[in-house]
């Protein structure tokens, strides 16, 4: 019980301030939800693979905005977070559609990371999205993560899989 408040602090993140902003859409899924999901056993190899992937996830957060002022605020927050955290850059992709940056914190081996942070801005696509922050914590298998990331950041999967 004594540990509970500290645990709660560990769960919150620097990006949570975007959650209450009107022009930001967010999805936050916590460890407990992934744990529960992994108990709804289904059958088939895809289900098994999905369960292996989500079992060790601590949190999953996505913040999306169509507001350019908030997009630049997100960029500032990402920069200051990178300065204070031990993340290393995995890759940076700049093409005609967007500017994508991916950062990781090394996990138990070269295929696993303990944190994955993606930031996409300068988006030029049909949707009006300006910027997306995607943050994943927990033990994450880089080879499998595209299943979770792809729906939020289209075409990101092919970049991650290249690893």
């Amino acid at each position: 019980m004594v540990a509970a408040p500290f645990f709660a602090i560990a769960q919150s993140s620097l990006f949570d301030k975007f959650e209450d902003m009107n022009d930001v859409s967010s999805v936050i899924v916590n460890k407990e939800a992934f744990k529960m999901l992994s108990k709804f056993k289904g059958s088939g190899p895809e289900v098994k693979e999905y369960m292996d992937l989500v079992q060790n996830i601590e949190s999953f957060r996505v913040f999306t905005t169509e507001n350019s002022a908030i997009a630049s605020q997100m960029s500032v927050t990402i920069d200051s977070y990178l300065k204070s955290s031990k993340l290393t850059e995995l890759m940076r992709i700049k093409d005609k559609d967007a500017n994508v940056k991916i950062y990781i914190r090394q996990g138990k081996d070269e295929n696993h990371v303990n944190e994955l942070l993606m930031f996409v801005n300068d988006m030029k696509n049909k949707t009006n999205q300006q910027a997306v922050i995607l943050s994943l914590t927990g033990s994450i298998d880089l080879n499998k993560i595209s299943t979770l990331v792809e729906p939020h950041i289209p075409n990101s999967g092919k970049h991650l899989k290249k690893q």
Binding site: V2, N22, S25, S26, V27, I28, V29, N30, E32, A33
Partner: protein, 174 residues
């Protein structure tokens, strides 16, 4: 029992009933729509079911539903009530599962208890144009995996007055 654990116990008891208090107060407020659904409206599709299913079903006790619909005159009340629920759910006793926020519509799902023995599930939804709703499912050691398993065989009595009232309200929100 040490003084420290007494203090902790006191804090725990002091914090957890606040949603209960909020629901009771909302029921007395005419702006709110409130419905209590007893577990008896959930019945089984088949008459012959295993004891295991019956036991799982017995862990669900009742459901509270309250909603506040925005009108021309109660916008301020909506804002203050929304903050009230948000503050209650910030209590770390409520373990947050999923939170989705999209263009002024927010949905939060959280629970009290342990992941395999849940005592309370709270779903809080709010929309800056329509209003807010709180659904609370009360039970005793509810196991989500088991409930998920039996969800195929259960049947909600759609002719009960409570369910009809609920449908009426939900229709009004659209």
């Amino acid at each position: 029992m040490s003084l420290w654990s007494v203090v902790l116990l006191f804090i725990a008891c002091d914090l957890t009933p606040s949603l209960q208090k909020y629901i009771v107060e909302s029921k007395e407020n005419n702006e709110y729509i409130a419905i209590d659904l007893p577990a008896s409206i959930i019945s089984l599709n088949e008459t012959e079911v295993s004891e295991e299913i019956k036991a799982t079903l017995a862990t669900i006790k009742k459901m509270n539903f309250i909603a506040l619909q925005i009108t021309d005159t109660n916008k301020a009340l909506f804002e203050s009530e929304k903050q009230k629920v948000k503050t209650i759910l910030k209590n770390p006793e409520y373990k947050e599962l999923i939170k989705v926020n999209n263009n002024g519509t927010n949905i939060v799902v959280c629970y009290l208890g342990k992941e395999e023995a849940i005592n309370e599930v709270v779903i809080f939804g709010s929309d800056n144009k329509k209003g807010l709703a709180v659904v609370r499912v009360l039970g005793e050691n509810m196991n989500p995996a088991d409930i998920f398993k039996i969800s195929q065989v259960i049947n909600i009595d759609s002719n009960s007055t409570q369910v009809k009232a609920l449908k009426g309200i939900l229709g009004g929100f659209k």
